[in-house]
């Protein structure tokens, strides 16, 4: 069998006595666009953080193209581009400077860094923001810059936590095009999201995570089993009837 692009093996994380992620396992085949779905607090960010080497798991590990993230972090991290959710950036640099800095830090040649930076900023429409430090960026701009950082060293796997959150529709379309081209070029993508329609449209495989466990995984059509992905999701994580009753004062 071909080595999968990304493999999460028995990942477990305890916060106090709470099992935030509980023996979570996933396999992302090469060339697939993999969606990770789950309600708020299901453990998506925690498991992705553990899988790329940002958070040490209490048990389990992850492999990127067969390279163990926790045994050989240096070689594993060279193969992946990551967009984490809600983390800081070097706030006092401009977007162009962030990309230049991180590119050089990765050991890319200077002129290569320069041309890639210019191109990425142009494509993501951040090229007119050279007079702005990252601290002045909006949430959507931060996301786009984060995506540029993830793409900069041309990895073969992208791990994106909520890449479309707070991004305007025009930029979202651009990002979709970029990601589809990336897949067509043989890359693999894992992204987490709440937005069913987006996952249905973009991804070929999905996993549904609830309470730190994978409750369903497979191709999109396998998981939705004839219905819509949203219905499948709701039935998997448990439907809520709340919201239908009470709150009478709201319409009074």
């Amino acid at each position: 069998m071909e080595t999968p692009a990304f493999e999460l093996i028995g990942l477990t994380k305890l916060f106090g006595t709470e099992r935030a992620v509980d023996d979570l396992g996933l396999t992302v085949p090469k060339g697939s666009f993999f969606g990770m779905l789950g309600p708020n607090g299901a453990g998506k960010t925690t498991s992705l953080s553990m899988a790329v080497g940002l958070l040490r798991p209490d048990a389990g590990t992850a492999k990127i193209f067969g390279v163990d993230v926790w045994a050989e972090p240096t070689s594993a991290k060279a193969l992946v581009g990551v967009l984490p959710d809600g983390l800081g950036m070097p706030e006092r640099l401009t977007g162009r400077e962030v990309l230049t800095y991180l590119g050089l830090l990765r050991g890319l040649p200077e002129d290569e860094v320069k041309s890639r930076t210019t191109e990425l900023l142009e494509v993501l429409e951040l090229d007119h923001e050279d007079d702005k430090q990252v601290i002045g960026y909006s949430t959507g701009m931060r996301k786009k810059l984060g995506l540029a950082v993830a793409l900069l060293h041309a990895p073969r796997l992208l791990v994106l936590d909520e890449p479309f959150e707070a991004v305007d529709p025009v930029s979202a379309a651009t990002i979709r095009t970029i990601l589809n081209r990336f897949i067509a070029g043989g890359g693999s993508v894992v992204m987490s999201s709440h937005v069913m329609a987006l996952v249905e449209q973009l991804c070929d495989r999905v996993a549904v995570v609830a309470e730190g466990k994978v409750v369903a995984t497979g191709t999109v059509s396998e998981v939705r089993a004839g219905g819509s992905l949203e219905d499948a999701f709701v039935s998997l994580v448990g439907a809520s009837t709340r919201g239908a009753e009470g709150l009478a004062w709201l319409s009074a």
């Binding site: 080497g53 958070l55 240096t74 990551v82 400077e97 230049t100 931060r142």
Partner: protein
Amino acid sequence: MALGVTYATSHTLVRMRMAAFRHALKDQNRLTWIVGGGFVGLVLAAGLIWLAGIGDTDALVVALGVWMLGWVIGPMFAGGGDETLKPEYFSMHPLTPRTLSAGLLTAALAGVAPVISLLALLSLVVVGTQLSIAATLIALPAVVLQLLCFVLASRLAVAVYGVLLQVRSGAVIAALVNAFILAFTAQGWALIVAFVSTDVQGTVAKAARIAPSGWGLVSVEAAGRGDWLEALGALVGLAVVAGLMFAAWSALLVRRTTATRTGSKPRRLLSATSPGGAAGAKELRSWTRDLLYGHRAVFAISYGLFFCLMPLAIGWKSMLPWAGPAAVVMAGAMSANLYGSDGTALWATLMTPGSARPDVRARQRAFLLVFAPSTLLITLLLTWWSGDTGAWPLVLSVLPAILGGAAGLVVACSVYAAVPTTDAHKRSGNPLNSGENEGETMGITYLMLVLVSLTAGPALGAALAWSWWGVPIGVLSGLLAWWYFGLVAARRLDLRGPELLTLLRHGRSAIGEVKRANLDSLPRWRRTLAGFCLGFAAIPLFPQALVPAIFKLTGNNDTKSWFLALYLSAQWQWVVIVVMAAIGVSMYTYGGVTYFRAKPARAD
């Protein structure tokens, strides 16, 4: 109507504040700080009442002036004052600025510090009872108005600093003022000695009566004399000052909750060509673009200058050569949380293979670039000015040693003892407030003051023994400390980077279970004692041991001030100095070790 809303808002905000206070009491670490601070405050308040009791109103009015100054500058050293209720929380509520600030003011009054100040102000009532019934009655509104003035002055000062720190020149002014005040607490004795010996006590008391902090007392005294015009005038004056401060504070609150924070337009774009160069360029931009970094640099350098210039007031020049080293020590202590202040941006370094070493070395280089040329220049100029030729080999040995030591220790401390702060892009409008860990930040600052000073030890010893041979030893020890501590920090970052990121991302609570087990195993008195030791160790160590030792070494015998040792007969003086130094060092060690022991367990 408006009054009703104001009352209801105030009521709610006070309840919120009390709820937060109850939670704080459950946190052992914060409880220690509250109890310790409360105890010191009660002792000081008792002191004021005692002054009133013995009828020394001149001393009392000066003490009240200092008390108000404490309200104004205290927040600068405690992370921007109390920020339990941030005005940003309420920006979407349909409240007028006046209503909101009245509510916030009422909530600000519901705390430990205002209660202690209220007790201290009872000294006015004590003065009144000694004069007449009318004076006692006047004292009651005077106490209330005076307290209001204290709290408002404190809030207004925080707001003004908030505005100042958003522009470069403001940050510089704030740093200068802070440095002067902190240097004054350590070296103010020289200025006080100068004042006392030239008989200006009366002038100081007169000035303290003119300042609003003295108006309450002025009013009570005037009532005692039967001078009703002055008594009422002083009260009205207090009310007007309070009103003006309130109006200014409300206006600044509006600005704070509506202004945006974008960095200034960058002037020079990054043009490095190698990993190390890029990391260095990034770090240097933090120092030049982030006003908090700039504030820190100006603060450290001007602290060193003030610290060594103040003794000039009594004509004592021997401290001048040490301004450079003093600035480096302060710079090291202020920069001991580099990773903490960059927050979760660490992820980018973590995800870049092999970037730990260039990153650590770049931070060291940037530190040296900011502080080495400036302190070298200061050292050369001031040593020359002091005319003390014997000081040359000493300072030139100590300076390289301490620069290297500080550049090494700042990164080691930043990696091993990082204190989580709020991420820059999520901070509130109060630039002084960077999270809820002021206590820890303060403890580490004290510890670093001692550790950085210790790195000068070998060079100083060598210079005292072999004069100029100390210089190569100083350079060597500086290089060694820079290299070794940097290596240690980079290795730790490689091995434990994810743990550091988790700490910065989720704070202590995420890894809280381990920590609680560890800190809880210590009895409460030990934690309180450790906090007390860190807070007060400076008194035996600096004014009671080091300063008299330097006095004796330099043959200065005219000033005794409050240096215990110098009041004793000659054969006991060195004994007392050594004992005091030992007490100071042991207090620092005990406090530091207690905190340090509780630490590694939660990181591993």
